[in-house]
């Protein structure tokens, strides 16, 4: 394992220290329990948005804390959900009197820990609601799985609902909007290489030189299927087809296309894939109204990518375009 680290057990804490120094104008970072806050939290009268998850997906979630997006983020150990004490602290310090919306990705650990935190907060008389993002079409949503995973759709949700909270929408409206995004967003990813979790020290799954893993999550967990590497045109189909069939997205739909790098795939390949996807969507009569391209929800140094497609309505477009000022996203300011 080659990584720029001192000790696997201090990776998250040391990285947060650097993040705090780099973005002191936007966020406050508390070390124990670890929470990234908006520098001006709590904002009186505004619904607080809190998310969190394992570390290793940067810039998610800490990079999305700030005006127009999250109020706080709780970083767990690498690929491990954060704990209720972090979430409780985040809830207490960001509640501006208008309630708190917890944005949870659908993984067993995340759901259980956020559930526990919500129960504890309810006992403190803070109004807390939760939404669970489950946009990964690679997993069958059935009685026989833990349900679909929350992946790229989470970032789009945090931006759109963050803008709604900023303009003054109440808790019920923010919750309803979040569920509308969840109902209209789908994702799928693939990996060319596995990633190496620092405390494990070896790649999280085994892939031959000419193999790729299709239908991966964001935690280095293997996907549903291995296949031989193929030309980009075919790889894009492998991801887009299941997404389009699932919702389904059909001719006449307006969409946001989010082309995401898992961390190790360089922009040159990402833009190449994005271009192919735009062409295929145009051929299918689907209008790409907004684009989002880059490493925004990653799996450490994994080479690979994912597509996320969100069916847009006018309100979502307006909220997507609204000003945002966070360490990782900044426009309109």
């Amino acid at each position: 394992m080659k990584k720029i680290i001192n000790d696997p057990s201090t990776v998250v804490a040391e990285s947060l220290r650097g993040f705090a120094l780099a973005h002191a104008d936007l966020v406050t970072v508390q070390e124990d329990p670890a929470v990234v806050y908006r520098a001006d939290a709590p904002v009186p009268g505004k619904v607080a948005l809190i998310s969190g998850g394992g570390s290793g997906h940067e810039p998610m979630h800490g990079g999305y804390v700030g005006r127009g997006m999250l109020s706080a983020a709780c970083p767990g150990a690498v690929f491990t959900s954060p704990t209720p004490d972090q979430m409780q602290d985040a809830i207490t310090k960001t509640d501006g009197g208008a309630g708190v919306l917890l944005i949870v990705k659908n993984y067993t650990g995340d759901v259980l820990n956020f559930e526990t935190a919500a129960e504890l907060a309810a006992a403190e008389d803070v109004e807390v609601r939760s939404v669970v993002v489950d946009d990964d079409v690679a997993v069958k949503d059935s009685l026989y799985t833990a349900g679909r995973r929350g992946v790229g759709g989470t970032v789009l949700l945090e931006k759109i609902v963050g803008a709604a909270a900023e303009r003054g929408d109440d808790l019920a409206a923010c919750e309803a909007l979040a569920n509308r995004v969840i109902a209209n967003v789908r994702s799928m990813g693939l990996a060319l290489t596995a990633c190496t979790v620092p405390h494990v020290g070896e790649p999280s799954f085994d892939l031959a030189e000419d193999e790729i893993e299709v239908g991966i999550g964001i935690h280095g967990e293997p996907g549903r299927q291995k296949m031989k590497i193929a030309p980009a045109d075919e790889l894009v189909d492998r991801l887009l087809d299941p997404i389009l069939e699932d919702l389904p997205f059909t001719a006449g739909d307006r969409v946001l296309l989010f082309t995401n790098s898992m961390g190790g795939t360089p922009p040159i390949e990402l833009y190449l894939a994005h271009g192919i996807a735009e062409r295929k969507l145009a051929d299918a009569g689907i209008t790409v109204e907004r684009r989002f391209v880059g490493p925004y929800i990653t799996s450490l140094e994994m080479q690979g990518m994912s597509f996320t497609l969100l069916k847009l309505d006018d309100e979502m477009v307006g909220l997507w375009d609204a000003p945002v000022h966070t360490p990782a996203l900044r426009w309109g300011v």
Partner: protein, 210 residues
């Protein structure tokens, strides 16, 4: 003769040692069908439990179990934190009135722990989870108590049944937790949660046998 608070503390310390010894094994099992953090997370949790027990002297078995529960819930994360935390919390509640735990109290604690895990995780036997170790363990411990077994006999029965239950997860296809994303590919692997539950019960049984 029953178990006092200090007996329970000794048992928890033994559990922490076993978790530390098997940290790499549990993480390797999790790497195969999960996300390679189970051993690391449990070890972090029980290291914190040892620190918490060093600083406090809980007076009853229930108070010891509650300290374990709150520490695991706040330090472990992942699914294992809330699940094991809830298990210990329910066990603490089930034994709240006892200064010493006899065989019946141990069975009551194990039963409550299993119910807590099922309530939180919503897994059923056969889903390839820790329930596959805990459920037969509870049944075996109850049968051992009915036969007049003491605490050591009850825990030995639980540990034996948990070990077989864990082994029996190998051919199963996971229906809960992260391994369920793999579908058929999860078959052929020992479930890390069932394995850690089996290790915990074996550690308790070994302490009780001394």
């Amino acid at each position: 003769m029953g178990c006092t608070a200090s007996d329970v503390v000794a048992a928890i310390k033994a559990v922490a040692d076993v978790v530390a010894e098997h940290k790499v094994e549990l993480t390797q099992l999790d790497r195969a069908i999960g996300d390679a953090d189970h051993g690391e997370n449990l070890n972090r949790g029980f290291t914190a439990v040892l620190a918490a027990l060093d600083g406090a002297t809980p007076e009853t078995p229930s108070a010891v179990l509650k300290t374990v529960a709150t520490t695991l819930i706040s330090k472990v994360g992942g699914a294992a934190g809330p699940l094991y935390g809830t298990a210990f919390l329910r066990a603490a509640t089930a034994t709240a009135k006892s200064d010493e735990l006899d065989a019946a109290a141990v069975v009551a604690a194990l039963t409550a722990a299993l119910e807590g895990v099922v309530a939180r995780g919503k897994a059923e036997p056969g889903d390839k989870t820790m329930v596959d170790a805990l459920e037969p363990a509870v049944r075996a411990s109850s049968a051992a108590a009915d036969d007049g077994g003491d605490v050591a006999a009850v825990l030995r029965a639980a540990a034996d049944a948990a070990a077989s239950g864990a082994e029996a997860t190998i051919p199963l296809v996971a229906r809960k937790g992260r391994a369920s994303y793999l579908g058929e590919r999860s078959a052929g692997h020992l479930d890390p949660g069932a394995r850690s539950s089996s290790l915990l019960l074996r550690a308790l049984a070994d302490v009780a046998a001394r």
